[in-house]
């Protein structure tokens, strides 16, 4: 009976723990239902050459990265050096998906900041983005040899994320 005075304290600590967890979570990071599902098929023109098309089917048999970006997206500019670094490592090809953008703006940005992409698919009206559940550029997907989405990151990539999560995952997937 003596410990009764501790009850409010315990309740309070519990509440603080719950709130601390809740506050440190990013409500914008909604778990994607596409993880471990086949990457949705599409065929759109390429950014650099409107006469050529790109389809994820052409990447079958290799582990690759799909990065959704746009020239109007500020966080993409912040992420850009990290992508350049990722491309330099040559662990896996990086394909861009230029989301709801204008061709000339997108090409100008790549010319200015460097082009980390093997190629970029051009999704001018955002139709492909909807199939991939894109709601906040930049978003990054890792797709395995069988064409299954294994990982999705919402928001800019960081060097820490590359080293701790993405590089290990890529080399793991390449082995299988």
């Amino acid at each position: 009976m003596k410990a009764k005075f501790l009850i409010p304290l315990i309740l309070f600590v519990g509440l603080v723990v719950f709130l601390a967890i809740g506050l440190n979570r990013d409500p914008h990071e909604v778990p994607s239902p596409l993880i471990n599902k086949s990457a949705p098929a599409f065929e759109v023109s390429q950014l650099a050459d409107a006469n050529k098309t790109f389809s994820p089917a052409s990447m079958k048999g290799q582990v690759w990265i799909l990065n959704v970006w746009a020239s109007w997206c500020v966080a993409c500019r912040e992420e850009h050096p990290v992508l350049v670094e990722l491309a330099k490592s040559q662990i896996a090809p990086v394909i861009g998906l230029d989301y709801k953008d204008k061709r000339e703006d997108a090409l100008a940005m790549l010319a200015k900041q460097g082009n980390p992409y093997l190629l970029s698919a051009f999704d001018g009206n955002g139709r492909v983005g909807i199939d991939y559940g894109v709601y906040g550029v930049p978003e990054t997907y890792i797709i395995d040899k069988a064409g299954v989405i294994r990982f999705k990151h919402i928001g800019p990539l960081t060097m820490d994320l590359l080293n701790q999560k993405i590089y290990p995952m890529l080399s793991e997937l390449k082995k299988s």
């Binding site: 909604v30 778990p31 994607s32 239902p33 596409l34 955002g126 909807i130 991939y132 709601y135």
Partner: protein
Amino acid sequence: MRLILLIAVCLFSLGSVFAKDAAPLADDPVTEQRLISISEEMRCLVCQNESLAGSRSDLANDLRREIRILIKEGKSDDQIRSFMVERYGDFVLYRPPVKPVTWLLWIGPFVILGLGIAGLLMYLRRRDSSLPNVTLTDADNQKIDALLNASDKKEG
């Protein structure tokens, strides 16, 4: 002359009021009605405190366009809902489906209410039994009467 000018100015400014661009509507009101009823039950992922029907974000516009197309293709409400859930998860629905992961969400509040009522009953019962049971003697009653009469007189 001045009156004509005034009228002209009024007319011109009226024009600019009407010139506000309207949101693109489907050709028929039936489609629009269904679009609203479906999208009011969905969350906009960009501005998470807005419904898909009410949000002005770019993505919400695109998704409304997409839902319009699905309605025109003759898809049922359930098919449209699963189209959205396949892409954005249960999070888009304001009424998440009842399944093991969401049991806590659905039943939790009632469990807490039950615990609260149980706690209250326990507390009340314990307080009841801990109060001393006093029976008044005749002397006590006389004292009370005297006090009450005294206060009555004062007020009177």
